[in-house]
Amino acid sequence: MNYLEHVGKYFLMLKQVFKKPQRARVFREALFKEIEELGHKSLGIIVFISFFIGGVIALQTALNITSPFIPKYLIGFATKRSVILEFAPTFCSIILAGKVGSYITSSIGTMRVTEQIDALEVMGINSLNYLVLPKIIATVFFYPFLIVLSMFLGIFGGWVAGITSGMFSHLDFIEGVQLDFNPFLVEYAIIKTLVFAFLIATVPSYHGYYVKGGSLEVGKASTQSVVWTIVIIVIANYLLTQMLLT
């Protein structure tokens, strides 16, 4: 199957996904389950990584500012910009693509090879709608909160790194963070997150839903889905940056 066929099949899948759920009560239950699995359970890794990467960004910026003519508040400014523009939305989405993407592909893929999806179809249930739509809604609604949290923690991590290392002062860092604050950059980051969240839910679902074979193929599909999700996120990141910031 060539790439174009995959693209076509992916959009045909989306057509089935975006149909009215057959039972609101069952859909609600599935949605809360997915918010727990895909969102809440990703909180720990995002908190941990954001805090430390924010610290590293601040320290590396400080280490590279050797000229006395460059003001120290640039450390806070650079940390804020890096975290808001790229680290929180893109880097965290790539981490989530790895963590959540492999989970989605393996769970749907296992359902496929153990005939659970056939069981849904025999019952007359639109399996794509039942399995994928709650995942899309859970990620699209929950990930912006995760990313905003990541922004705060990244900047906070930078501040803590400065205070504990003594490489820059509290006042310099805060001045840099407050300097030239542009709310559109946060909007840009949220827009990117919404697109990435959609990709994180749908691309691995596609790989899992159409897997053929046994557990080995499910494993291979999980790896492939993570790679493809990351590739598509990186391309989408470039296109969105071109469209929104230039």
């Binding site: 009560r25 389950k33 153990t114 005939e115 659970q116 025999v122 019952m123 007359g124």
Partner: protein, 254 residues
């Protein structure tokens, strides 16, 4: 009643089913048997609508399934119960949730009524006190019984089973066979079983359809299969010495 007329189905240019004609009746346990690759699974999946026939028709109580309106198709789906080879229970749901799932999806019953129905069918398959267990905590035989409970919870008119005995010890296999036959008889369901198990053929095969190379090679009951001289059936069913001796003993007795 299910009537199959001149059913053809293939994949990628290879014809798997080559014009099957047969019928399955209410209150009777019908078995589809045949060697691996003879088209049994494709036939069963065509019956349950997972495969669309290329030629021919499958009629349920006189209505051809490919001509159903959306509403008729929805209704028909709810009249079908299916027991998959590997049980196909939803891993993330408990026994109770698995059995309740079709009720939640297709009825507007209050929770306590649904629970009563779930407990009733679980009792029917002799599986009480397992409501809160997950499929992974159950034995193969118990999983099959949960699958049967899920299949009958909506009071289906048609029950399809894909190798319900595979992977089970002989004793449990007989329990599952008897359970399917009892349920078929009790609720007058049209039951179609796809099997390799010769014990099932002898015990519950009220109607047996033997497939060879995608064609119906023989049709009859478990009484008639002892007497048949159809070479393909004899070679397949009586391939083991044990069954050869059973057949000889049966024929001598007669």
């Amino acid at each position: 009643m299910i009537e199959v007329k001149n059913l053809h189905k293939g994949f990628n240019g290879v014809e798997i089913l080559k014009g099957i004609n047969t019928s399955f009746h209410p209150g009777k346990t019908s078995l589809i048997i045949g060697q691996s690759g003879s088209g049994k699974t494709v036939f069963l999946k065509s019956l349950i609508g997972l495969h669309t026939p290329e030629k021919g028709t499958i009629a349920f109580d006189g209505k051809i399934n490919t001509e159903f309106t959306t509403e008729e198709k929805r209704q028909w789906r709810q009249e079908i119960g299916m027991v998959f080879q590997g049980s196909a229970l939803f891993d993330s749901q408990t026994v109770e949730e698995n059995v309740m799932f079709p009720l939640k999806m297709f009825t507007k019953q209050p929770e306590d009524e649904m629970l009563d129905r779930v407990n009733f069918v679980l009792q029917r398959v002799n599986l009480e006190n397992s409501n809160s267990k997950f499929p992974a905590e159950l034995s193969g035989g118990m999983q099959k019984r949960v699958a049967i409970a899920r299949a009958i919870v909506m009071n289906p008119k048609y029950l399809f089973c894909d190798e319900p005995n595979s992977g089970l010890d002989p004793q449990t296999a007989i329990v599952i066979d008897n359970l399917i036959q009892e349920i078929t008889d009790e609720y007058q369901i049209t039951t179609v079983i796809n099997t390799h198990d010769m014990n099932s053929v002898m015990e519950i095969g009220e109607k047996i359809v033997f497939l060879k190379n995608g064609k119906k090679a023989w049709e009859g009951s478990n009484k008639e299969i002892f007497k048949t001289d159809n070479e393909a059936v004899v070679n397949f069913v009586y391939s083991s010495n044990l069954f050869k001796k059973v057949r000889e003993a049966y024929l001598q007795e007669k």
